[in-house]
């Protein structure tokens, strides 16, 4: 089962709304935020879920980019 971390980059002032949206996604854990970047980990049953989650985050209002940093598969 895959685990992937990413940095979600957001527009100025969009922090609260994006954090709220992220917290409603059950595969996502928010680890922290610095300036306009949020550190998340996607903990999923399959790679397909990671892809879907990434696409969903990218489509959120106020999100300007999602940058994967690390991924690993727990066999």
């Amino acid at each position: 089962m895959p685990v992937s971390s990413a940095i979600v980059e957001i527009d100025e002032g969009a922090g609260e709304a994006v954090l709220n949206s992220l917290s409603s996604m059950h595969d996502i854990t928010v680890y922290g935020m610095k300036e306009n970047k949020i550190v998340i980990v996607i903990d999923a049953d399959s790679l397909g879920v990671i892809e879907q989650s990434t696409k969903k985050i990218m489509s959120m209002e106020g999100v300007t980019g999602v940058f994967p940093v690390y991924s690993s598969v727990d066999e």
Partner: protein, 772 residues
């Protein structure tokens, strides 16, 4: 406190991301070490020319993961492709053994058999038809040591310049643009300029998809910086264009008129920097393309007169770009504290690619927006070592290493002496460029061709005719590839399995003159071998077969890649590229170094051509200079050239019969011909196949909607793809990436090329569309 393995993995992933942005996470002590790979090896991403630093994670002797290097310029960030690098090494279609074509089948043979056959074919051809009957087609993905070495074999050992590479298809126009304006190739600026610029001018660059990490920094600067402007000139409404303060849209192929009109506005509104222009520039006009080209010297007054006709109104009429946008762009460009321009294939893959490059440089010279932090003119590069191995290393058919030219007798003599080959060995005539080489192969003028680390069976323009040539039984095609079948290896007579990325060691040189060492981390799969090892064996056996055993031993004996690297450093000594001080030991420690690095205690050069900002070579080549000196242009008194380049349209504009323009490019999830990225399940699922983007209004006219099949026909071929109806391309323009090996978009593209750079016009050809 005990943790499950799952929790440990999550913490590990979080630490990696948090460290990339300098965020301290309150994680339990010692947990990081517990969850990471057994060993991390420093390296560089295998994909684009940005050159992101990576750490490769190993477990049980295999690469299991990759993370960004937070101490490198990319600050630990990676794009989606870089993040999923590990699977490229373990794909099921890795080429594992030498394969020989027998009819329609490939059969496994030994390396000895493969090498003996290859040497005998090349040797026979040279003996019978001369050295110009054999050729090598290389790659901006090969390590510098490989490109330098094979160039030495062909130019110095065999005496033929039949050696070129795929950078001819992607950045030759940028290289010739730099040389014709500044005297020497490569950008003078650095990624560091992004942190200082307050105006970004992007033209012909889909940065968010093709260079995502660079775009992340530009976007960060725009978000954080006070009054930072982003101008994007692109016929497509890309994500970058959507982020822009000003999106200049225009009919493809008309941007030369826009660039001249911006210069017109700058002069008319008295926004030029006359002091800079007077001190650091000359003016020229090409009156006859030649060869050799006839060039006249011009004056400021000639330039002003030349620009007279390029009013914003005239440019709007030609390009469709509103005159107000042109005026606004010119003002922002000239009046900002520091303007940085970035471009990529949108300018380079054009029949007037060099001219387009020159016109961007003109704007920087005209306004003095150059050679200081944030002010620079920067070509982005598509491959990880097009700059370091091919441009700097001199692999192309008109080049010798480190700024030397085949046509220059002094340069030839210098390299003949350096290599220790007889005077006159280097052929004084430049060899065929990429398209010319495959034309010669089609006609059997070239009998034996070795293609390494690239995929011309998918990436050449007007593809069908060249695929037929590669398939011919009258010639001998050797393909060194990490994957089989690729769209080129499937046409080969002999396939040599190549080690890939961290299965071998070597040096990459990327867009900002940053050189980085890639350490070997794992053994190659099966019988795959590093290309350099194969090249050295081939060179020795071939030259020996030509009766020159002693010469082979003298020229082509190396203990390891470091021995080749040491020779390369020596070849650069004293040139404008000087990186004598960039030893292998220093590169192993550093997170990249930027040349010039003339001595072993020199820290590297962030900005070139300016003594004030640290270029030590200014005083060496131009002792009188107080700061800026374009010392590559000695013949022009160390001044850069402002060119009078008129607007000329594309080779094949849309017309009544073929009313749409097709442009090709890149998409986020894939890279080049997809041999690597289509092997990564995550990327393949995200973007499983190629499609054709079409504007909603055009889609309505021909009656297609998203997912409908659409037939695209050019004067060269026809292809059916799935339509994606989206408000990204402007009306009259359709777009497809060239990644999908099952949708060879290049059967449609045109092989007309730039007269100066010989780079083909992938970006513009005329097509017609119908619902399939």
């Amino acid at each position: 406190m005990e943790f499950t393995r799952r929790q440990l993995l999550k913490f590990s992933a979080a630490i990696a991301a948090a460290s990339a942005i300098g965020l301290d996470l309150p994680l339990p002590k010692g947990i990081e070490a517990a969850v990471q790979a057994d060993k991390w090896v420093k390296g560089v991403c295998r994909y684009c020319g940005a050159g992101c630093g990576v750490y490769v994670g190993l477990k049980g002797g295999k690469v299991v993961t990759v993370k960004g290097d937070k101490d490198n310029w990319n600050r630990g960030l990676l794009c989606i492709k870089g993040n999923f690098l590990a699977p490229i090494l373990y794909a099921s279609d890795r080429a594992k053994y030498p394969l020989l074509r027998k009819g329609d089948e490939f059969v496994r043979i030994s390396w000895k058999e493969a090498m003996d056959l290859m040497v005998s074919k090349f040797s026979e051809s040279i003996k019978k038809n001369g050295a110009d009957s054999v050729a090598f087609y290389g790659s901006g993905q090969a390590y510098t040591e490989e490109s330098y070495f094979i160039s030495k074999v062909f130019k110095g050992g065999l005496g033929t310049n039949n050696i070129d590479g795929n950078p001819r298809l992607c950045m030759a126009s940028a290289a010739v643009g730099y040389v014709t304006t500044f005297g020497k190739d490569e950008p003078m600026g650095a990624y560091d300029d992004m942190y200082h610029a307050d105006c970004f001018f992007l033209i012909g660059s889909n940065m968010s998809e093709a260079h995502p990490v660079i775009f992340q920094i530009v976007n960060e600067r725009k978000t954080k910086g006070k009054d930072v402007k982003l101008i994007v000139a692109d016929p497509r409404k890309t994500l970058v264009a959507k982020k822009a303060d000003l999106h200049m849209t225009f009919v493809p192929g008309t941007d030369l008129a826009i660039l001249n009109a911006m210069a017109h506005v700058i002069i008319k509104e008295n926004l030029s920097n006359k002091n800079f222009v007077g001190k650091h520039t000359v003016f020229k006009k090409m009156v006859n393309p030649g060869p050799p080209p006839k060039i006249d010297k011009m004056t400021w007054d000639d330039y002003v007169k030349f620009l007279d006709e390029y009013t914003p109104e005239m440019a709007e009429k030609v390009s469709g770009c509103p005159k107000e946008d042109i005026i606004k762009a010119a003002r922002w460009f000239a009046q900002s504290k520091a303007t940085s321009s970035y471009w990529c294939m949108g300018l380079n893959q054009r029949t007037r690619g060099v001219w387009a490059n020159n016109l961007v440089h003109n704007l920087h010279l005209l306004t003095g927006q150059i050679c200081r932090p944030g002010a620079t003119t920067f070509s982005l590069t598509g491959q990880p070592n097009a700059c370091g191995g091919v441009r700097d290393g001199g692999l192309l058919s008109h080049l010798l290493p480190y700024g030397r030219l085949i046509v220059n007798e002094k340069d030839r003599e210098e390299m003949e002496n350096f290599w220790g080959v007889p005077k006159g060995r280097i052929n004084p005539n430049p060899g065929p460029t990429a398209v010319e080489m495959f034309r010669a192969f089609n006609k059997s003028d070239i009998k034996c061709l070795w293609v390494a680390c690239t995929n011309p069976g998918q990436s050449l323009p007007n593809l069908d005719i060249y695929r037929k040539g590669m398939e011919s039984k009258d010639t001998f095609l050797v393909v060194s590839e990490a994957y089989h079948p690729s769209r080129t290896s499937e046409l080969a007579d002999l396939v040599l399995p190549a080690a890939l990325w961290v299965e071998k060691d070597g040096t990459y040189g990327q867009s900002e003159r940053r050189y980085q060492y890639v350490e070997k981390a794992v053994e190659p799969v099966a019988e795959a071998r590093p290309d350099l090892q194969v090249m050295i064996e081939f060179a020795n056996k071939l030259v020996k077969s030509l009766g020159r055993e002693a010469e082979a031993k003298k020229l082509f004996t190396y203990k390891n890649t470091e021995a080749v690297w040491d020779e390369i450093r020596a070849a650069s000594k004293g040139t404008a590229y000087d990186f004598t001080g960039m030893t292998r030991a220093r590169l192993k420690k550093a997170h990249g170094m930027q040349w010039p690095v003339p001595t072993e205690d020199h820290p590297g050069t962030v900005r070139r051509y300016t003594a004030k900002y640290g270029d030590a070579l200014v005083k060496k080549f131009d002792p009188q200079a107080d700061d800026i000196s374009f010392y590559g242009a000695k013949a022009d008194g160390n001044r850069a050239t402002i060119w009078l380049r008129p607007h000329v349209g594309p080779a094949e504009p849309a017309d009544a019969q073929y009313p749409f323009v097709l442009t090709t490019g890149r998409q986020l999830e894939h890279w080049h011909t997809g041999t690597m990225t289509y092997n990564v399940p995550e990327l393949k699922r995200a973007a499983p196949y190629g499609f054709l983007e079409i504007n909603p209004k055009d889609a309505q006219k021909i009656g297609v909607k998203t997912r409908d099949k659409i037939r695209i026909t050019s004067r060269r071929g026809s292809l059916i793809m799935e339509a994606k109806v989206v408000d990204v391309p402007r009306e009259g323009l359709v777009y497809a990436s060239f990644h999908d090996p099952n949708k060879l978009i290049n059967v449609l593209t045109i092989d007309a090329f730039d007269a100066l750079s010989k780079q083909p016009e992938f970006k513009i050809c005329a097509v017609k569309l119908e619902k399939a």
